[in-house]
């Protein structure tokens, strides 16, 4: 039992460090050109897809974002998978929705067990147990469903890579080991608590269920693996949505956008097409009519 306990701490550390590292990597990329897409939920005219550019003389007028609309929109994607439900014709939504909620509830289950232990909130024990049980069932249903869907539908299968199947199998293994541990051991939830308590105290608990150990070990490995995989989209999505599709910030002289872009324009280009002059920066390139004249 010692290895899963120490692995738990390692996995949490790797998970958090990698989130911060990868977040900062994305965040430090150059400011891109505007590429917003409507309807833009932060816009006051979001209900019909409008923008401030519908106004005459909009530059000097005040512009504002309604942040709560953005949060609600993003939440509807994260928690309800709204677009998959509305537009996916391959019937992926019930499985995708279940798998995502399986993962969310797995985190919630562990968080509740931590709360119970740290604050001694025994009153929430039934809720914690239900949360854990539901997480395992819906997570297994969702990941198995998605796996079968991707195997059986040729349009999906053509685009699904071995690593994608691996990811789904990985998640399925976490949920199914949990379910097996649960149905084979009447004290499953108590032993899970004992495991969490052991992690907190750095004192490995003596848990007799090897399925439970397998379950937690797989989950810990998953935490380590997730930030390196495509499943990191839970963070990347913040950038694709908030920093690309919703970024309608106007460039005004002397603004932070203006300063960033001005500095980026000093970068040199080495594109090889004849109309571009190799080695000149952006400002110099703009002054040239055609690279073939230089």
């Amino acid at each position: 039992m010692g290895i899963p306990v120490y692995l738990a701490w390692l996995s949490v550390v790797v998970f958090l460090v990698m989130i911060v590292y990868r977040f900062s990597k994305f965040n430090s990329m150059p400011l891109h050109l505007r590429w917003e897409l409507y309807p833009l939920p932060l816009e006051p005219k979001h209900h019909y897809g409008g923008s401030y550019m519908e106004e005459l003389d909009y530059v000097p007028k005040p512009r504002h974002h309604i942040r709560i609309n953005g949060i609600l929109d993003m939440a509807s994607e994260v928690f309800l998978l709204k677009k998959v439900k509305e537009y996916n014709i391959y019937g992926m939504w019930p499985f995708s929705f279940s798998m995502h909620w399986g993962i969310y509830l797995l985190f919630v289950w562990i968080a509740l067990m931590l709360v119970e232990k740290i604050f001694g909130f025994d009153a929430i024990v039934p809720v914690t147990n239900i949360c854990g049980g539901v997480a395992l069932i819906v997570g297994a249903f969702g990941s198995l469903g998605l796996l079968l869907k991707r195997i059986s539908n040729s349009e999906l299968a053509s685009y699904t890579l071995p690593v994608d199947y691996f990811n789904l199998l990985f998640m399925l293994s976490i949920f199914t080991t949990g379910i097996i541990a649960w149905i084979t051991d009447p004290y499953f939830f108590d032993k899970a608590r004992a495991f969490i308590a052991g992690v907190l105290s750095f004192q490995p608990a003596q848990v007799s269920s090897s399925w439970l150990v397998a379950h937690f070990t797989l989950f810990e490995l998953f935490l380590i693996y997730m930030p390196f995989s495509k499943m990191f989209h839970y963070i990347a999505k913040y950038f694709t949505i908030d920093k690309v599709f919703w970024d309608d910030i106007l460039n005004l002289k002397g603004s932070s956008v203006d300063k960033k872009i001005t500095s980026q324009l000093s970068g040199k280009l080495t594109w090889s097409a004849p109309h571009i002059v190799n080695g000149k920066n952006w400002v110099e390139q703009v002054g040239i009519i055609d690279g073939r004249d230089v």
């Binding site: 519908e54 460039n251 872009i261 970068g267 109309h275």
Partner: protein, 539 residues
Amino acid sequence: MPKPSVAIKDISRPGDQPLVFMNMHELMPVPNLGEEPPIEPTPQKFIDKYEMSLDGHCSIGIPKPKTKEEEDHLVRRFLSGLEKLFNSEESWTFKQALRLSFDYCVKCQTCSEACHAYLASGRQEIYRPTYRSEILRRIWKKYFTPEGKLLGRFVGADVDVNWQTVTRLAELGHRCTLCRRCAQRCPMAVDNALIARELRKLFSQELGIAPLEILEKGCVQHLRVGSSTGMNPPGLKDTVAFMEEDIGDRIGKKIKIPVDKKGADILLIHNAGEFLSWPENPEAFAILFEAAGISWTLSSEPVAYDAVNYGLWNDDVELARVAARHTLAAKKLGCKKVMIGECGHATKAYVVIADRVLTGDLSSSEIQRESCLPLLWEIIRSGAIKFDPSRNNFPVTLHDPCNMVRAMGIVKPQRLALKAIAPQFREMTPNGVYNYCCGGGSGYAIIQSFNFPQWRNKVGARMKMHQTLQAFKNELDPNKVPFKYLCAPCSNCKGTIRDSITHYGLWDKYNLNYGGLVELMVNAMVDIDRPFIEYEDFH
């Protein structure tokens, strides 16, 4: 479901055999379209000389390499360009957005059903929004990532780059109109249209490969001569003189079109294609602005009398060169604002995309940049001009140009204007930010080379024709309803719509015509005693 007929790895398949053939019976059915021209087979003279092995159509005309050196050159430069797309100096313009779209697609294919080209083609695999993205992604993994080199096929590093891959990808980059409807539906906010755009950029900026009309006769000619149409400054002055005379003939009043008027509030820049193909459109602007007492001018400065900016579709450097010259011309004249006429891509390129290219004294706070649509609605709303809607008493529907609507959120002004001046206005479905592309987006409207117009008419514009016929489905009979008007406030959309109405014979069958918004406005002006729209003329 049957296995898709074309696999990802087929992009590298040797030989001249196209990956797909377009068949009439597979195209999306369009009610009321009637008999349509058959699909012409690919001419042998093209097959012999050019790369046609994607779908038997061709927008660029890449000559087949004759030697191993030429083949290797294509491959080497392609890979070098792909690497540059992810370099912070070479491609800061879209690096972050591209990286995110590249790395986090979960391939749920939710986007496919949003794509007009995919649907209109009868769901041909190669037009699926994820098809080209996945190819590019797998190439990137294979040639540029440690996990690809280490784990190979397991992570999808399994597409070989040979010269056929490169030339097919160049064409495949031109089977997406960049309308971004797919991005709107993506649960991950992955943008396959951006990937297509960046793929084109790779070809334009690294290999100098692009459709003739977009690069050499587009941006390069625009910068060299003054306009992508080939019109030089004296040509513009002749055109203005012609338009002044034409206005006199059309409305019985003389109007002086201001050119290079120092200190005018607004520098108005039209897509110069309007001057040649639809001069009534810039004429209508002149009539409206004169009647509304607006202080405005055209510029005769090279580049600044043509609003087009084809770099939007494939080339950041050309985009920046054109946008800077538009702004410098406004500065020279002392104008407060630059307004783009009825042209979607030019409006987005200048108002939105160039916003982060034009810095300091050229930024928005120094010289404002706007679409014309809010001002057109303001002219009606304010009562500056009196309109009689009964003069437009025929069925009118509206096409939303993707660049101004989905990409800029300009949704209401054109609708409010139409509701005020066209009593039989009705929406097409879907509309607004959820509209379908006209089929000519991203330059397809102007690509007339090889057999590309056939692809545009049969696949690109098919959905728009379907929507239009649906909007008029109860009034198609020309004996009962002699005139219908598809309002498209965008030059490139109009070009596509003109060609597709002609292709399908919809003017002859149904008297279905098209045009901009300003023509309808002038047609309804109380102060003008005759119709501005020529009801018997289709051009």
